[in-house]
Symmetry: C2
């Protein structure tokens, strides 16, 4: 009934992963079937011995405002994760939001805090930073190339900026999107040398792909890495296929790599930290 | 990710009992921590290979109407169970209710049906009937003594009446409550010989205890069974202690017995049948 799975088996007419005391979390999206947070965030709760689980919550856009207002009134529901298409809309549900969320204008997690307050933040980019931290790869003072300035790219760019790299070069197929992200990055840390331009693999320490190029059966790489130096660290946010062609080629060139799944794990860890940070006090 | 637990183990960063495709059910009550439906109904889903789970949903009375209206709008939520204090209030959430629920004026389960319809029924008493059926003990034509005409007693009395016993003698410490139940029973089957009176163990085939006498550390029995004949079948709705003193003494006298836990199992099976009866078609 608790997170201790080593205890004796329960009677066959009971499962051991949910009870009346289990705290409930939900991931809200439309559609919902493709999400991975229920099995991954619940696994993180289990690993930490927290009696909680995350369920999928499929809410249609027309129902979002009224439905979410009431979900927040469910006394044993302590937090929500938001996915497509709700990351921006969900900002309105928070009484307070974190720095990354404020810069990006979106949240992907909302947590109940004492006295009925709800706080929100966005963890996509923090997950990438966490993945680098776990590998022991420094970001401070490094020269970054970021490909892709959409939702994931902006989140990664902002989170990386908070780690104070020396420079950041941004590329997006939509130049305006890259330019907008450059502005946001300068508001985080004006000392970073930010510029917008074509993707390169020279004169950088870290290559970050947050574009969809290379996803699934796409045989391309987001940049030609035939001349990449082996001291460059290569990250790809894509989780399918694993490894992507970009990561596979980078490894052939002798580069160290960080996988999309490591960012996912880092994000999940950060979200569960966030959910666990404040004692709940339902009202 | 599905009900098939015999498949190979998932990666350690995922659990196998919830995913984006899992259908969600909830038990709604205030308080909620003491409920047993999450672990027991989820176990029944698992046993049947249904990818679904039941979570606890703690809703305060002041929030009930608005909150439940919105929970019904969650597209992957297919059913709800209601416990104290909501069994009567929940009737208003159903577009249609079953015969037992109509007689009793309460529901304890609500299921989504095609085209956004919600149907409700009450299964407490049906669980008792199911327990007898599983044991192979006939009710039709038998002479029953029912002790306790409160919530559980009324549900058991009505469900038993639907099985057409020959006679039913009712006792409650509140004589009016027993008299009211007698009236309801006659509406179910006017041919049953119903009467209200003190508890007896003679001239009966089945003794049913639905009173709280004998619960937990209460050392009493709800009726003196020192003279009970061994052909009488004795049922006790109480699940703690197990067996109750009533059941233990009955066994000593050579009587066959039906345990409260068997009624719980019967009810759970009936509720999952009910949830599974109509293809869902969320709107």
């Amino acid at each position: 009934m608790t997170g201790d799975r080593s205890a004796s088996a329960p009677p066959s007419d009971e499962v051991d992963f949910v009870s009346g005391r289990t705290r409930v979390y939900g991931i809200v999206g439309d559609p919902i079937e493709q999400v991975r947070s229920p099995e991954m965030i619940t696994a993180e709760f289990v690993r930490r011995g927290i009696d909680a689980l995350m369920i999928p919550v499929h809410v249609r856009p027309a129902d979002f405002d009224a439905c979410l207002a009431q979900l927040k009134r469910v006394q044993n529901l302590d937090g929500l994760v938001f996915t497509i298409p709700y990351k921006r809309t969900a900002v309105a549900l928070a009484d307070d939001i974190g720095d990354h969320a404020r810069t990006i204008g979106a949240i992907n997690a909302l947590a109940r805090r004492p006295r009925g307050r709800w706080v929100g933040d966005i963890f996509d980019g923090m997950g990438c930073v966490e993945a680098f931290r776990r590998r022991g790869y420094a970001i401070r003072g490094q020269r970054l190339m970021l490909i892709g300035a959409g939702g994931a790219g902006a989140a990664i760019g902002i989170a990386m900026a908070h780690e104070h790299p020396r420079s950041m070069r941004l590329f997006d197929i939509d130049p305006q999107r890259a330019a907008d992200l450059a502005v946001s990055i300068r508001t985080v840390d004006a000392s970073i040398d930010v510029n917008v331009g074509e993707p390169v693999t020279t004169g950088i320490d870290i290559l970050l792909n947050a574009s969809p190029v290379g996803m699934l059966t796409d045989p391309r790489t987001p940049v030609d890495i035939s001349a990449i130096e082996p001291q460059v660290i290569v990250f790809d946010a894509i989780v399918k296929p694993e490894p992507t062609k970009l990561l596979s080629l980078a490894q052939t060139r002798g580069c160290r790599t960080v996988f999309g799944r490591e960012m996912m794990r880092g994000q999940i860890s950060k979200i569960v930290d966030f959910f666990s940070a404040g004692a709940t006090d339902a009202v």
